[in-house]
């Protein structure tokens, strides 16, 4: 039965891989323009552009995200390296009006091209959201006392995000 789970779970990934492999054929044959993938905001580390080699990420990002998804959901493991939230934080501009359905969105740029539908963004944020969850020690600034939130958000996000995305073997 486990085998069956795995098969079903890997099915979309497998299909995507086939599609990716078939890309050159399509490009040669049909002359569809290559997707214009928006650049990331920063490098993950001095050695690596992304959280894993770029080729690997292009091919297998869904495996990493899927694995992380179950780890986070069921076991409470919240390491940022392969978290979808961090993909979005780095690859999608803040306050952008380019939302998930738009072919200019980082994820959609490729997925539109490869004709692979993702449903991540029916539930997940499709652009960076400034953190509104508070550290307990900052209590006193209440979430429903609106004005304080915005102040705090401003000061938190850029810096925190930077630290978050640079984490994973790298000191600041």
């Amino acid at each position: 039965m486990t085998r069956l789970y795995r098969f079903a779970r890997n099915l979309p990934a497998g299909i995507l891989m086939l599609v990716t492999l078939a890309l050159p054929l399509v490009v040669q044959g049909g002359g569809v323009p290559m997707p214009d993938v928006p650049k990331a905001k920063r490098h993950y580390s001095a050695d690596s552009e992304c959280v894993a080699p770029v080729d690997e990420m292009r091919k297998n990002h869904m495996e990493y995200i899927l694995h992380q998804r179950d780890e986070t959901m069921h076991r409470g493991i919240r390491t940022p390296q392969f978290a979808l939230e961090e993909c979005i934080n780095c690859h999608v501009p803040e306050n952008t009006e380019v939302r998930a359905g738009n072919p200019e969105h980082f994820c959609s740029s490729c997925h539109t091209y490869a004709a692979v539908k993702v449903d991540c963004f029916q539930c997940h944020a499709d652009r960076p959201v400034k953190q509104t969850n508070f550290h307990p020690l900052t209590s006193g600034r209440m979430p429903h006392h609106g004005s304080d939130i915005s102040n705090n958000q401003e000061s938190l996000s850029e810096e925190t995000l930077l630290v978050l995305t640079n984490q994973g073997g790298k000191e600041e």
């Binding site: 998804r69 780890e71 959901m73 069921h74 076991r75 409470g76 493991i77 919240r78 390491t79 940022p80 939230e85 979005i88 939302r99 029916q122 539930c123 997940h124 944020a125 499709d126 960076p128 959201v129 509104t132 969850n133 508070f134 550290h135 307990p136 020690l137 900052t138 209590s139 006193g140 209440m142 979430p143 429903h144 939130i149 705090n152 000061s155 938190l156 810096e159 925190t160 630290v163 978050l164 984490q167 073997g169 000191e171 600041e172």
Partner: protein
């Protein structure tokens, strides 16, 4: 301002894990206390803990809905997510709600917040056909929306009406509280806070109640005999709503 700085840095510490943290320590006192007990981000939750809450209905102020609005803000539902605007009030999500009761005999009026009771034996988990409704090792009951098919059987089974089905497309969800059309959701006991800050975490509702000065909600580890919640329960007791069902709820009440 300097305090804020400190807090941010110590929060970075949790997020970046304890080993890489050392070089970043700026506020040693705060930092050390916290990292000494916090669960590193890469470590799974364990059944050594069971998170729960004790709600004292005598301290819960009639008319105060701070816990509800704090939850809305924290998790991006209700007034905090204006994109859920087509659903009727009966259809809208409601993670936590305030209830005011009157004793039919004595006329005693009391109020209390009601949300997912994080049962040890959750009926919603029993009935879910796909296992999307599940209980974590540390006792928090969640919905894995990735495998939720939206059958709503869990909502039929829940004795507390704690769960909501999303009736329309949503946008602008918060990264730590994904929610979307066609799936079921409920109180997560602010699981993102618990995971990040471990035993120093306080759910948004309890935090709001404290800062309003009511202190009606005590959050903590039911398996740690020294935690405030365990001591309170041991010394003064606490009741479960619908204890007759034998679900052993993680949320306990006093004065009901």
């Amino acid at each position: 301002m300097s305090e804020k700085q400190d807090n941010q840095l110590s929060r970075r510490e949790f997020l970046s894990g304890s080993t890489a943290a050392a070089g970043l320590a700026v506020a040693p006192g705060v930092f050390l206390t916290l990292t000494a007990q916090a669960k590193p981000a890469g470590q799974p939750v364990s059944s050594e803990n069971r998170w729960g809450m004790l709600i004292d209905s005598n301290k819960c102020a009639n008319g105060c809905t701070s816990c509800v609005s704090a939850c809305e803000q924290e998790n991006g539902w209700g007034s905090a997510n204006p994109t859920e605007n087509k659903s009727s009030p009966e259809q809208k999500a409601q993670w936590i709600r305030k209830v005011t009761l009157r004793d039919k005999e004595t006329g005693h009026v009391q109020s209390l917040p009601l949300m997912c009771q994080h049962c040890e034996h959750p009926p919603c988990v029993d009935v879910c056909p796909t296992g999307a409704s599940f209980k974590r090792a540390d006792g928090i009951v969640l919905v894995d929306k990735h495998i939720c098919i939206g059958c709503r059987y869990c909502m039929m089974a829940c004795p507390y009406k704690a769960r909501s089905f999303i009736h329309e497309d949503l946008q602008d969800q918060l990264p730590h509280a994904p929610r979307g059309k066609g799936t079921v959701e409920s109180c997560t006991l602010c699981v993102h806070r618990v995971d990040r800050d471990s035993d120093k975490a306080v759910p948004a509702c309890a935090e709001a109640c404290n800062s309003e000065g009511h202190r009606a909600m005590v959050f903590g580890d039911l398996k740690d005999p020294d935690s405030e919640i365990s001591r309170e329960l041991k010394n003064y007791g606490g009741e479960q709503i619908r204890a007759d069902l034998g679900l052993n709820t993680g949320i306990r009440y006093r004065g009901i």
